[in-house]
Symmetry: C2
Subunit: 443 residues, 2 copies
């Protein structure tokens, strides 16, 4: 019998909870987002539970929302990912460290070099969350008024990926001989100049750092559009995706793995990890109460702004304590709008409750006992809805500590999650092969 397929777990953080009310939850650390001491403690706890990776969300601007809502947010500012993850590399030993970096507003030489450097500093634990950045506020921080059109962004992203991986291959793995006797530091036959000239980029190389420990750091993508799925199927090692439920997750999983097969890649060489917002209680009621209490900490300024954006209609005239009235048709995203309206109807939420849900977190959630959550995760794994999850914690530190203390042991007991790290690199944690070097013999 083949070994049981294993669950992979990332911790998706910004670099704390993504829930707007998290910092106000009783016992939470309001300054967690900007305290290295706290973040170090979180990541060391995740490492003690053998998480595959700490995954840092990022934006290249202060979040794009009205200042009245923004001033309620604990994630408007934070650390920059490369600096934070490098600092964390020194105080951890095994957990993967995934940084978000944009192909639209940065240079491939910088990106290739920084990830290679992080990979060496962490002994092979770096991952790149490749994003194309569609935020117009970010564009204005980089000298552009007009944002690049979607398909063009993806074409540039693909070329950018080719250049970055090409730069990572500048040196053979055994290029540095350091022979003090003859005075030969590296073998020049093991150095290649990329000399890329393409539609968007012109980059000569070679990279001024040795080939990464992992060959290439792990590449994560999050695109869900046609172009995004195809790019992921062709190039990604892992996909971070938002899926509202298991049925949708299974469709996405089958689609991306099918695309992989069509381009000749093995299905297991890409891990699909949907985001999951997890609230653990000792009973279902306790978990539900925590979840409901958390939403009450979403201020009306945030909640009503977020709900108005989602519906494409200003909700100021609605009775906040009444049920959601009929909402006129608008030009807001139809699917987002319908999802929100359906949620209100299905759960009988008042306008304020709905606003708090949307302003806090309204994607896939798992709320219950450790057994409930392990059941749900196992079902996704077995039914091929995913290869694991990017877990989002509701508040810190307790939401993270509860997951580590209660859910992880239950997953381990079932034999679907590691008890110790078997490998040392993030690729090894994820069960991914080490890429060969395009210029030299695979080794």
């Amino acid at each position: 019998m083949p070994p049981t397929r294993q669950l992979h777990l990332g911790a998706f953080m910004r670099p704390v909870s993504l829930h707007t009310g998290a910092w106000r939850f009783p016992g939470a650390w309001p300054d967690a987002n900007f305290s290295f001491r706290h973040i170090k403690r979180f990541v060391q706890t995740l490492e003690s539970a053998c998480f595959d990776a700490f995954f840092m969300a990022d934006h290249l601007a202060v979040l794009n929302m009205p200042v009245n809502a923004l001033k309620r947010s604990h994630t408007a500012t934070s650390f920059e990912p490369f600096t934070l993850l490098s600092a964390l590399a020194s105080v951890t030993e095994r957990i993967g460290l995934i940084a978000t970096a944009s192909t639209t507003f940065d240079e491939p030489y910088h990106i290739a070099r920084r990830f290679a450097s992080l990979d060496h500093l962490s002994d092979g634990r770096a991952g790149w969350n490749l994003v194309t950045t569609s935020n117009p506020d970010a564009a204005r921080n980089f000298g552009r008024d007009e944002h690049m059109e979607h398909d063009e962004r993806y074409r540039r992203a693909h070329e950018f990926y080719d250049v970055v991986t090409g730069l990572w291959d500048s040196w053979a793995d055994d290029a540095f001989v350091r022979d003090t006797e003859s005075g030969l530091f590296f073998d020049p036959d093991k150095l290649r100049v990329l000399d890329h000239k393409g539609a968007y980029l012109s980059v000569r190389g070679p990279l001024n750092i040795a080939r990464p420990v992992q060959g290439w750091p792990v590449v994560v993508q999050a695109g869900s559009s046609e172009a995004g799925r195809q790019l992921a199927a062709e190039t990604a090692d892992a996909v971070f995706t938002a899926q509202p439920n298991l049925a949708a997750g299974k469709r996405f999983y089958a689609d991306v793995k099918g695309r992989m097969e069509r381009v000749g890649r093995a299905r297991e060489h890409l891990k699909i990890l949907p985001g999951a917002f997890v609230v653990v209680g000792d009973s279902r009621d306790e978990a539900q109460e925590k979840r409901a209490l958390l939403d009450t900490f979403v201020h009306d300024d945030s909640g009503f702004a977020s709900l108005s954006i989602a519906l494409g209609h200003d909700v100021a005239s609605f009775d906040p304590d009444g049920l959601l009235p009929e909402v006129p048709e608008t030009n807001a995203s139809r699917s987002a709008r319908e999802r929100v309206i359906d949620m209100a109807r299905a759960e009988g939420l008042t306008v304020r409750q709905l606003a708090q849900r949307v302003g806090g977190y309204s994607g896939l959630q798992m709320v219950g006992t450790a057994t409930d959550i392990a059941d749900e995760m196992e079902q996704w794994l077995v039914e091929e809805g995913s290869d694991g999850f990017n877990v989002m914690f509701p508040y810190l530190p307790a939401g993270l500590d509860d997951f580590v203390a209660k859910v992880v042991p239950e997953l381990q007991r079932r034999g679907i999650f590691r008890r110790v790290y078997e490998g040392t690199t993030l690729r090894e944690h994820l069960g991914l092969p080490r890429p060969g070097n395009r210029f030299f013999e695979n080794r």
Copy 2:
């Protein structure tokens, strides 16, 4: 009586010795340039000696030299500065951490953000070595065939500096109130949008990270041209400069401090720190022997290539063991050429010895006992040749350990170098004021 003016010491490293033969010296660690374990040990040793800062040189390309010489170099590749210094921030407590970053090949939003992040991660120890990058090999790694002309590079650098410091001022120091009761995370009156539109750059802001601990990280410059000196006098907190001897150092010192006065800055608000290559022995003879031995590890491939570049003439036809013959006039830099020829004549060096000197290190050096070196450093300080030095170590670890064990105590005994860190930030170590915020009351 006013307190004795104090010496400031940086350790200038790439991130090891700049001497081409260093990695071959007996007892040296050949892989020091690319071992975080070794570099951590060096920087912790420097911190135990109360150095002001670890200063990381950088290039945005593999070094520009023929591959036959390059393959002898232990500094052709290394870590990327932000990732390395952030990793070091976690394992040190007081020493300043200065990273080189280019105003020509990077974006001000990224630079402002990364230095702010490093400053927060290190509790106020970040410094920016602002360089304009004139290396054509770097240009080709960033999609440009033609390099930007010198004066234009400096005009862009000045604007870049204005934008970066403006972004650092995006938030008042007390913007983040984190009032869990009312749900107010930050006070929106304490946030400003820079909205810069200039000749070279257009950057909206605000920066998505709190104002740095130091207000602004320390800004170091190294330009020695007319434009470079003027930019430094107007904006820099410290200057790293190459000065061949005390007389030249005094002229440079008087010039830059005079320029500061003319733009209304206090002389003591910029520290001038020439590079000094220091070899310590228990006797003068021992120090000279070490220095000479080190040069023998410069391979002919490196030495003759470097000497040919310096003279603008291929030295292959010269007798390597004879004295330097007459060298035809060329279009090489006249001052560099004459300096090298004068050195050969003054010291009676053979062609090979001269090549080894030029291929290794031929700038300001201090070779002798701890007393000799302390005498020389004290003379520079007292006669206003400098405010301290960026020390370059000949080989590692012994060259660094000797300096820390022998020279530092002698400087301390004379009362011109600290025995303990009195402040916590790099600005405090250097005796520099914390800049006010352009948008808010100084605080």
